[in-house]
């Protein structure tokens, strides 16, 4: 998977593993009946109308109307290619808005917006116009600029960052991409390269050869990729440098160690739990049998393998410089200034939105694991119990739909902790009778007393769908419509949407 040329990634090196799973998630999202979302009207969380397809509808229209591809090239072919890539960028952002990738959550938005305002105010000559800030609900630790003065910040980054200054560095880095026109320039460069005589000649020479055509083709394409990656790495380094200047002007402290911390961003499921997996179920009087968590399969997944050919992406193809390299390069610029922890309310809301989104994307093991990690922090918010219920209800429904495997989203053991692996095994191996029993028992949990009415109504909806004698589109449609009619503002309408006939 290659990053589209118009996306200028955040501070984080995007590794191949992330792409691999992104590839899984995307088709799943498209291809399966999505079992998703529950959200209570916990004060402060967003409404259905604050999901991007509605909240940013006007902006989306405006983008579609005003993002007109400029005429830059005399050569028709180059201009055509340029238009195509331009259009790809437009479709990318427009589709993302339509598919509810973004959300407007007032507190998180204001928090990020304030950082942006502080930077802009301190750099009036460099940044003349405030960007459109979009909160991407993805859990991956990243942010991106796509040109057009748009700045997208993943909630995974907000969750990962420990201080306001860390977030500010990423934001300043992305603003720098916009200031330096990196996305727009990238589109131009790509259009020019793909229509260049040299590039065409290289490709055509492949057909002239009798042998090793694929190798020759790959070399030609890799040469192109290398050139682009190298270019991107220059862009990233430039963005780093400018970001530090922007922060200095804004009196926001900078510490090069942030780069090192970002190096660990892709090991989120390597975190371990404080207690054995089964103990987290005791609170709900759910009994977990030991063999559910133990992998007895003879399968290759249980073996110790280490295929060197596929171990890592070639350094020359990486789009970002190594974090360590960036740390060293910027070490002397660290100012040792004060740092400000991100307010707990921002952290809490971010976590909840991420968990909800994982559930909506049918990534149930990861979703449950996030809840267990939250419980390890001593969080007793009943919302997490509510999500606990939703996960088992969703898993039971997925099992009935012959889709449990995809809902679990099995990850290879080398990318996850032992606890995650056990939890994954459990969700995969527990007999369906027990799964049904879990779902039914959680339906009766005492935590429901503390839940708002839309969450309770969602329970009714989910149980109607999951426990229907025979699955019927009509039953699902009616139940979904009823929920939406009664709670039109609830964020849980997103879940109902999946079952409402279009």
């Amino acid at each position: 998977m290659i990053v589209p040329p118009f996306i200028m990634g955040g501070l984080v090196q995007i590794n191949m593993y992330f792409f691999k799973y992104l590839q899984h998630i995307v088709p799943l999202f498209i291809f399966t009946i999505i079992f998703s979302d529950v959200k209570s009207q916990t004060p402060g969380l967003y409404t259905y109308q604050e999901l991007s397809h509605l909240y940013y509808a006007k902006q989306n229209d405006s983008i579609k109307k005003n993002w007109i591809c400029p005429k830059l090239y005399k050569e028709k072919e180059t201009q055509k290619k340029y238009s195509e890539i331009w259009q790809d960028r437009l479709s990318f952002i427009s589709n993302a808005i339509n598919t509810k990738d973004f959300v407007y959550e007032k507190d998180i938005y204001n928090y990020l917006s304030q950082i942006v305002t502080d930077i802009i105010t301190a750099n009036p000559n460099t940044i003349t116009k405030a960007p459109l800030i979009l909160l991407d609900r993805s859990s991956s630790v990243n942010a991106y600029a796509i040109g057009g003065n748009i700045l997208a910040v993943n909630l995974g980054l907000v969750e990962f960052a420990s201080t306001r200054e860390e977030l500010a560095l990423v934001i300043a880095h992305e603003l720098s991409h916009n200031i330096l026109n990196h996305a727009d320039n990238s589109i131009k460069e790509r259009a020019e390269l793909l229509t260049s005589d040299e590039y065409k000649a290289t490709l055509n020479s492949v057909l002239d050869s009798k042998y090793e055509r694929l190798t020759r083709l790959k070399k030609a394409l890799q040469g192109y990729s290398f050139s682009r990656s190298k270019h991107n790495r220059y862009h990233e380094a430039d963005a780093d440098s400018l970001a530090v200047v922007l922060l200095k002007n804004s009196k926001i402290s900078f510490d090069a160690k942030y780069f090192l911390r970002l190096d660990s961003a892709d090991i989120q499921y390597k975190k371990t739990l404080k207690n054995p997996v089964k103990t987290y179920f005791e609170k709900y009087s759910l009994s977990v049998e030991d063999w559910w968590t133990q992998k007895k399969s003879k399968g290759l997944s249980t073996k110790s393998y280490n295929f060197k050919d596929t171990a890592s992406i070639q350094d020359s193809l990486k789009t970002h410089p190594e974090c360590k390299e960036r740390y060293i390069k910027n070490l002397l610029l660290s100012d040792g200034g004060k740092t400000t922890p991100i307010p707990q309310i921002i952290k809490d809301k971010t976590k909840k939105i991420i968990i909800w989104n994982m559930f909506d994307n049918q990534n149930l093991t990861a979703c449950l694991y996030e809840i267990l990690l939250e419980k390890d922090k001593g969080n007793t918010d009943v919302w997490y119990d509510f999500m606990f219920h939703n996960i088992f209800n969703g898993l039971y429904y997925s099992d009935k739909q012959l889709n449990r495997f995809n809902a679990i989203n099995v990850k290879p053991k080398e990318y996850i902790s032992k606890d995650y692996y056990e939890l994954q095994n459990m969700l995969e191996q527990m007999p369906k009778e027990n799964l049904e029993q879990f779902a039914k028992k959680l339906k009766e949990g005492s935590f429901w007393q503390g839940m708002p009415s839309d969450a309770k109504a969602l329970k009714t909806l989910m149980n109607t769908i999951a426990f229907a004698e025979e699955s019927s589109d009509k039953i699902e449609n009616n139940a979904a419509k009823e929920f939406i009619a009664n709670f039109p503002n609830s964020m849980y309408c997103e879940f109902a949407d999946h079952f409402k006939k279009k």
């Binding site: 998977m1 291809f31 083709l217 399968g299 060197k308 495997f405």
Partner: protein, 521 residues
């Protein structure tokens, strides 16, 4: 990708396709061919392997890529290598080593511009079996080669090339030997040979095998079995079990598959016992008089079989081989099954296709039941039109019976030989046919296989008929799930997967995508 195996191989090309000249990509991708094989160990699926021929790298060699996936379809590694023209035949896994068996040839699979090219190459064809041993670090530990003699021919393909064809008389069979290595069997124009290897690819021993019509290779930790079918007066009989010591290839006395009265046996399943790991055979006892008439529903109703059997191969001495024969005519069975094998409860006839064993040593025989009724109208018409001669002859030609394919039936045979009708499992029924219609495809519309889950000690029978896939829990004697093949625009099929699971493939005809899911039973 994960669930779209074939797309994965071309992802690299597809990625760039929209950005460059499609002709280049089309021509290069046309040269790429892939196949997916299951990786098996001790009869269980442990992973998947995609073998891809990438490109021609010289006059006579190609580059290949092996992509290995675990049992959850997650990629775990890739191995690239170059070889002459090879085609992957079989894969097995043992002691963290993959053994791949290929057929290598400078004629078979090769394209010749002119017939003359083929004709000059064919007489000196260089054909061989290549065994390749790969560890889980992607290192090729060893490659062995056995020269084979294959009769080749040619055909002209759509592109106008003459393509060499040919196959072994007995195709390559490869199995792992638990804790030892691998066993490979093949037969060419001259010999049939059994070869064993250590897990690092060293040849343990080779043995030439006697002539038979068909061969099937099975292994246990200590023994290697060749189940062979020889010419016999009974078409479906003639089976023998030949066994060899894994350690040195020492041959044990052959075991002729017959009952005590010399009746031939029809093997339905030959498999490892779930608790002992020893091999067992199960199937039907063939009636010596009517046993060669089994083609039509009418034949089957006449009783070509006398009962069922299970033979457990616990060793090589006579006493170690436990034979359990149960005859329809056995006194205890009279209330349930007639002497012709008719199921008395509902007056159905049955033909059996599949056997499996549970964790308690019981054997289950699964088959299709059917009924036979006289065609009253045809009989009356024949009588009425008897003076006209022609119509009765015509009607007689069509037969005076009609058959209705019915539910699946399961018989249970205990280790002591007590046989009972365990259950009838509802399944779709084919259209009524005349009694003389072929049984397969007309009366029987089902295929059977089984899945076991050693964690829960559960056995499942999968009944796949033309309309539905039925998952039946043998131990609980109940259907756990019925999956329609077609539900709206979704076409569903199931395949064997890792232990205790099935691979569900759902093709959405409207949206044009396939979703794969590995579901526990």
């Amino acid at each position: 990708m994960k669930k779209n195996l074939l797309l994965a191989v071309c992802s690299f090309l597809i990625l760039f396709n929209s950005n460059a000249q499609s002709k280049v990509f089309k021509e290069v991708s046309d040269e790429i061919s892939s196949q997916v094989n299951a990786i098996m160990q001790d009869g269980a699926l442990v992973g998947y392997l995609m073998f891809t021929q990438l490109e021609k790298v010289s006059e006579d060699s190609f580059s290949y890529k092996i992509s290995i996936m675990d049992e959850n379809l997650n990629d775990i590694g890739v191995v690239n290598f170059r070889e002459e023209k090879i085609s992957l035949q079989s894969v097995a896994f043992e002691q963290d080593v993959l053994c791949l068996a290929y057929l290598k040839s400078n004629v078979i699979g090769q394209k010749f511009k002119k017939l003359k090219g083929y004709k000059s190459a064919a007489p000196t064809a260089n054909n061989s079996i290549v065994t390749q041993f790969l560890n889980l670090e992607g290192k090729i530990l060893k490659t062995n080669q056995i020269a084979v003699d294959i009769k080749t021919s040619t055909f002209k393909n759509n592109e106008g090339f003459f393509v060499g064809t040919g196959s072994l008389d007995h195709g390559i069979q490869l199995r792992n030997i638990n804790q030892k290595g691998f066993a490979l069997f093949y037969g060419d124009k001259d010999i049939q040979q059994l070869v064993t290897y250590t897990s690092t690819g060293e040849v343990l021993w080779k043995k030439n095998i006697d002539v038979a019509k068909y061969y099937s290779l099975f292994t246990t930790p200590n023994d290697i079995y060749m189940v062979v079918k020889k010419k016999d007066k009974m078409d479906e009989g003639g089976y023998e079990a030949w066994s060899y010591a894994t350690a040195d290839g020492k041959q044990y006395p052959n075991y002729e598959m017959k009952d005590k009265e010399g009746r031939s046996l029809k093997i339905l399943s030959f498999d490892n016992d779930l608790t002992t790991g020893n091999l067992y055979a199960a199937g039907n006892i063939i009636n010596p008089n009517k046993g060669n008439s089994y083609y039509t529903a009418k034949d089957v109703a006449n009783g070509p079989y006398d009962g069922v059997f299970t033979i457990s191969f616990n060793g090589h001495n006579k006493g170690d081989i436990k034979e359990v024969f149960t005859y329809w005519s056995g006194g205890d069975l009279k209330p349930e099954i007639s002497t012709r094998g008719r199921l008395m409860e509902n007056k159905h006839f049955a033909k059996y296709y599949h056997c499996s064993r549970d964790f308690n040593g019981n054997t289950y025989f699964a088959g299709t039941s059917f009924t036979k009724r006289p065609k009253i109208g045809a009989i009356v018409a024949s009588v009425v039109f008897l003076p006209l001669l022609a119509p009765p002859i015509l009607l007689a030609g069509l037969g005076y019976n009609k058959c209705y394919g019915k539910d699946a039936v399961i018989l249970k045979q205990t280790p002591k030989g007590v046989l009972s009708i365990d259950n009838f499992v509802a399944s779709s029924h084919p259209h009524v046919v005349v009694g003389r219609a072929p049984f397969e495809g007309f009366v029987n519309n089902k295929t059977f296989y089984h899945v076991t889950n050693s964690n829960t000690k559960s056995n499942y029978l999968i009944i796949d008929d033309t309309k539905n896939i039925t998952l039946y829990n043998i131990n609980k004697r109940q259907v756990t799930r019925t999956i329609p093949h077609k539900d709206g625009k979704i076409r569903t099929n199931v395949y064997p997967a890792k232990e205790g699971h099935i691979l569900v493939s759902e093709y959405n005809q409207k949206e044009k995508y396939t979703r794969l899911s590995i579901e526990a039973l």
